[in-house]
Amino acid sequence: MKVALVGSPNVGKSVIFNRLTGAYATVSNYPGTTVEVARGYARLEGRVLEVIDTPGIYSLATITEEERVTRDLLFSARPDVVVHVVDTRNLERMLGLTLQLIESDLPVVLDLNIVDEAEKAGLLVDGESLERALGIPVIKTSGALGRGIAELRAAINRATKGPAARPAIPSLLYEQPIEAALAALEPLLPDGSGVSKRCQGLVFLQEEQAAAGSEGAGDEVSIRIQEILRDLSSSCSSPSALIARQRQARARELTALCFDDSAVQQPRFREALSRFMIRPATGIPLLLIVLYVGLYLFVGRFGAGFLVDLLEGTVFGRWVNPFLTALVRRLLPWPVASDLFVGDYGIFTLGLRYAVGIILPIVATFFLAFSLLEDSGFLPRLALLVDGLFKRIGLNGRAVIPMVLGFGCDTMATVVARTLETRRERLIATLLLALAIPCSAQLGLILSLLSAFPLALAVWALCIAAVFLAVGALSARLLPGEKPSFFIELPPLRLPRPSNVLAKTAARMRWYLLEIIPVFLIVSVAIWLGRLTGLFQLLVSAMGPLMRWIGLPAEAGSAFLLGFFRRDYGAAGLFDLARAGLMSPRQLAVAAVTLTLFIPCVAQLAVMVRERGWKAALGIVGFVFPFAFLVGFALNAILALAGALA
């Protein structure tokens, strides 16, 4: 038995999913966070149901890739029940999808979610009359408060046992040209899909309109289909709009039937705050404050400073490492073997120390700050604010979400870049993430590395910002493709719930740790092997001339080499060099810039290949590698010439 949750972005599908299954899907207050299909299991009367959480979808006629994922899932996976989750306040514009789902003949349960906020705003909904009018079960829930979940479970349970005997509700009849085209189209559609041909036909008509001009394969069926479309377009200029309009008219009737909004009041304070955020004069200072407090003070000072000192310096430096070193050396008296665990690059002394002592506190504080911002509804408003700037680098405001997330983990952000609409934007975002967005671990280390030299820090920040803008602007000019367009839904501002923020931070941490701990261990083993065979030293010495070319000590080579395995690893390597007093402020600035720009870590590279294809990934790496060193060289030359940061 399968249950699929569908609905527009930001209606609380993931919260409902968690309530039904007890698993944790990441829940956030910005549209488009579910990029993967989450699966979980729910127990109903002793039966186990598979519950599927899908990416947000506005209509079955799809536009973006993530929407297509959901649609294809509905069409091919044959769920036994589809739960359409809507935001009660926006019932009118969401009912269109309900009507489509009903047309598809899939068993639908309509879940009026976030009913608590609707009621708090003074909106009364008569679920029973809506149920009668639609002919499907309608349940009111509040995922956040856990209200109505038992009723929803019961409704799903009933629906899995086949449709209840209820009066057949006539399905929506479209205008004559549409109905005629549908009648002609239906026999031509392939059998065997779980949804009705009427629904498939409608989706086809709506999408074909959008993809006008695409020619069929030329066989009989596609010729016939072209004919039908031609006939239709001669009698009706935009079938897609006509269909949407009729559905909307029906949705409006239904909403009028069951809504009582006479007592609705606008939430004044939230509105005022929202406007404060989206006006540049107030929004930009607010953004700077958020960056300063969230990123610099909390992540930089507290996470990368205080917590790292505590964990890496005290816990690992004083207790764990000496203890483990002593223990291992006693158990494995052969240096070759014990080096694997406790040498300079040992699994414990390097791998675990970096992973737990340095990376963990930085990433944890970043994800905590990000989750807070996310849940408050700040990010879409930020997108609105920066859209103009992002247009110049070939992106639209929406891309600010992967970009900000990139400051946490570029690998995760590269996955999230999937939510951008065009291939061109995904490509530019991937390039900029790989090149100019330092991840939180790297950022934290660089901040603490350079904090003793404010001028070097400023040079680094300016350099990275300039490269980000210049390379963005250049790729916007050079890459072919359609210009980006910007639209985003602004969810209401909400006070983040601590439980949700913590759970989300934990979920992200889990993803991160599961992804990185193995990499750290593998890297430690690889380096151990490399040292054993002399390969590592060979590579480091091969890096020597390159290092000297950009004015760095040859020893920095190992930091760069490590940097390929994990970005933050490399920065951590610099950390050690700086502590040993081997670097001047200028060298630190140059190294920090080059290392930030330098190729992405192994994990990010793997995700780039998976998400954008190996050609794009290879192209990006082919550009980033020489470019990073070129910038490093130029910066060193300029600083030397200016006599700055000697």
Binding site: S8, Y58, S59, A61, I63, D87, R89, N90, E92, R93, M94, G96, A121, L123, Q206, Q209, A210, A212, S238, S240, A241, A244, R245, Q248, A249, R252, S274, R275, I278, R279, P280, P380, R381, A383, L384, L385, V386, D387, G388, K391, N396, G397, S485, F486, F487, I488, E489, L490, P492
Partner: protein, 250 residues
């Protein structure tokens, strides 16, 4: 003599020219040579017989009855232009040509229907005024009067979405799917740095390109309150016309 309901293309063209020269450009009267080429004299005689045109010393002007007739003809022409450019998205010369032909068919109330469909526009795409018809006067009393693209509104204005139009059908599909649908109530919240607006209980932000695609039928009481200043920067769909033209040029 009774004026026939349909004058025919030739006579209508002459009335139109007379209208632009005398009413709009303020000339007292026109010479026959200004009004057309061969055969224009005969047509002018015909118009004079119908009591639409007055002649004095070989110079012509519109008679009282002729003014009304000419106003209607001009109105039909400019409505046709709006229809081609705004709704059907026909560009440049083609729109002009088509408008010239269509205008002569817009009789018997068809012009009123088109005028209503377009939301009783007040200016043609080139910025010239469209003489109001009876439907416009009525509409002024009723709710529907101006349809303006969202990017021309001042923050705080609201209305009903009249239609969504774009050269990119995918974009229309997206807006429709998100619930930005004809007939929904819409309020513009802010215009800078991006356009933010409210539809129903949801808020959205879009860029100027998309805002231009959303055409809003403004509320009546708002029109009174904002008369003159309601549209942004006094750009009351005037001079070099609407936004659509601007885009075509880019």
């Amino acid at each position: 003599m009774n004026v026939p309901e349909i004058l025919g293309e030739k006579l209508e063209e002459i009335l139109e020219r007379l209208w632009t020269r005398t009413v709009e450009k303020g000339q007292e009267s026109c010479a026959a040579s200004e009004l057309g080429e061969t055969g224009v004299e005969e047509s002018l005689v015909e118009l004079a017989v119908l009591g639409l045109v007055a002649e004095e010393n070989g110079r012509y002007s519109l008679a009282e009855r002729g003014r009304q007739e000419a106003a209607n003809t001009v109105r039909r022409h400019r409505l046709a232009e709006r229809l081609f450019i705004d709704v059907l998205d026909v560009k440049g010369e083609l729109s002009e040509e088509s408008a010239c032909r269509l205008e002569h068919m817009l009789h018997r109330g068809i012009d009123e229907k088109i005028c209503t469909l377009l939301g009783h526009p007040q200016v043609c795409p080139h910025g010239k005024p469209i003489p109001p018809g009876p439907c416009c006067a009525e509409a002024r009393r009723a709710v529907e009067r101006i349809v303006a693209p969202l990017d021309l509104l001042a923050p705080g204005r609201s209305g009903t979405i009249a239609y969504v139009h774009s050269t990119d059908p995918r974009r229309v599909a997206k807006l429709l799917a998100m619930g930005v649908l004809p007939g929904s109530r819409i309020t513009l919240i802010g215009r800078s740095p991006s356009f933010s607006f409210q539809v129903g209980y949801s808020q959205f932000a879009v860029d100027a390109e998309i805002a231009r695609d959303i055409h809003v039928r403004l509320d009546e009481q708002e029109q009174a309150a904002h008369a003159g200043g309601g549209l942004r920067n006094g750009r009351r769909l005037r001079h070099g016309g609407g936004p659509r033209e601007g885009r075509a040029r880019r």
